[in-house]
Amino acid sequence: MIWWIVKRDLLLAMRRRSDVLTTLFFFIIVVSLFPLGVGPEPNILRAMASGVVWVAALLASMLSLGRMFSGDYADGTLEQMLLSPASLAALVMGKAISHWLVTGVPLVLMAPVLGIQYDLPGEALLVLTLSLLLGTPVLSLIGAIGAALTLGLRGGGVLVSILVLPLYIPVLIFGTGAVEASSAGMEFGAHFSILGAFLLISIVFSPWATAASLRISMG
């Protein structure tokens, strides 16, 4: 069931490739703006690289949340999904996975390249990429709740940012913390453990909360 949704959403995304690319280019442009704003001093850039990449990833992931349910909502597919005997939580899980595959994975793949722009050393690049790999699925899962709650509301796009960004903060803290710990030559395993814990908790609770929110929003 989950894989059926994932396959369908991926197919839809491939038919409209520009949507995927817009999110990715938004990420790249935001990250590239910072050196222009603060100056090209390599020491400053190296210090802020993980934070900039992570914040840009949060924003990019958040901006694409609107598309998670709105297309299905507009053409009535979502209503049929709610009526179907299959578990709504599983359907939602599929939506979150495909959101991550479409927006999260390209960000993870692009992160090392952007890290090089910021003159990050090899190990920090690896840690940054791994932390994004663990963290971006959490963003999609938490974001699904916000996307479901703001479905069909006026000003939904701005509203979802107010709802979701504060909840993203723990992921941001530990994601960037891992990179900083590795740059300082310290043990960064603990940060990964906590990110992993966030991922597990959100896998368990988010589909359930999102399904409840969808039922509320669809009345």
């Binding site: 916000g146 709650l149 509301l153 107010i162 504060p166 903060i169 909360a209 509320i216």
Partner: protein, 247 residues
């Protein structure tokens, strides 16, 4: 004797109960406020390290405690409203949010005033300050979500979901001191250890907390009454109220 607990779950009967309770809680709030401020300004000794500036804790600490406590209470009532479909619970939850946000803001503001003489800076990115700021954002998110939804039923339920999700943040605030262990001083008051401050300071702070608590109850009851009137304006008992028949 059996008590009918559900009698006051009806907005109509709660409206009058709340009206009767408001004067008592107002009196308690004023008494605690006067006593607490007296202790805070005249009884509590000057701190040997922090001088007179520490006295802002009599506002700061109660505000911070209330902002966290009210969030939990709000999430509790919102959750009850979501689970049992009791309209009144959701109304109380929406009535709590502005007061909680006000206390969160007050805690941040007074903290800045305290931080300037103590740390030499208005703001630091310390874990506890940051989590208080996040708590403030959570209140804002709850209120703006409810404000964006026109249908009160959907607004109540959507708000409940976001409040329950946000409740995850409250333990993070509490444990952040141990987790990140940065500039903010560790908790001076704890239930398991004897307090590390003078008795007058502690009692002043606790009495001010009671004052803030009573104040919150009064404001929340008033606001709940207004929400009830707004939502039930088409019912018979509200129109009777308008004609002065029930007073």
């Amino acid at each position: 004797m059996t008590i009918n607990w559900f009698k006051y779950a009806s907005p109509a009967s709660f409206y009058f109960l709340a009206g009767r309770m408001i004067p008592y809680f107002s009196a308690l709030a004023i008494i605690f406020l006067v006593v607490g401020l007296y202790i805070g300004f005249f009884e509590a000794p000057t701190d040997f390290q922090q001088g007179e500036a520490y006295r802002i804790i009599f506002i700061h600490v109660p505000a911070a405690w209330m902002s966290m406590f009210l969030y939990v209470v709000m999430a509790f009532w919102a959750g009850i409203g979501l689970a049992f479909n009791t309209r009144l619970s959701s109304m109380v939850a929406s009535a709590i949010a502005p007061t909680g946000a006000m206390f969160a803001f007050l805690a941040l503001w007074t903290g800045a005033w305290w931080g300037k003489p103590m740390w030499g800076t208005w703001w630091v990115w310390d874990a506890r300050l940051t989590s208080e700021l996040i708590l403030f954002f959570l209140y804002i998110g709850f209120m703006s979500l409810q404000a964006a939804i026109d249908d009160p039923k959907r607004a109540d339920k959507a708000g409940a979901v976001i409040a329950l999700v946000g409740v995850v943040n409250v333990p993070i605030i509490y444990f952040s001191v141990q987790w990140w262990n940065t500039l903010h001083q560790g908790a001076s008051v704890s239930l398991v250890q004897s307090p590390k401050m003078a008795t007058a300071m502690l009692s002043g702070m606790l009495i001010m907390t009671l004052a803030a608590w009573m104040y919150s109850i009064v404001i929340i009851l008033i606001r709940t009454r207004l929400i009830i009137l707004g939502r039930e304006r088409h019912t018979a008992w509200v129109s009777e109220l308008k004609e002065g028949a029930l007073e």
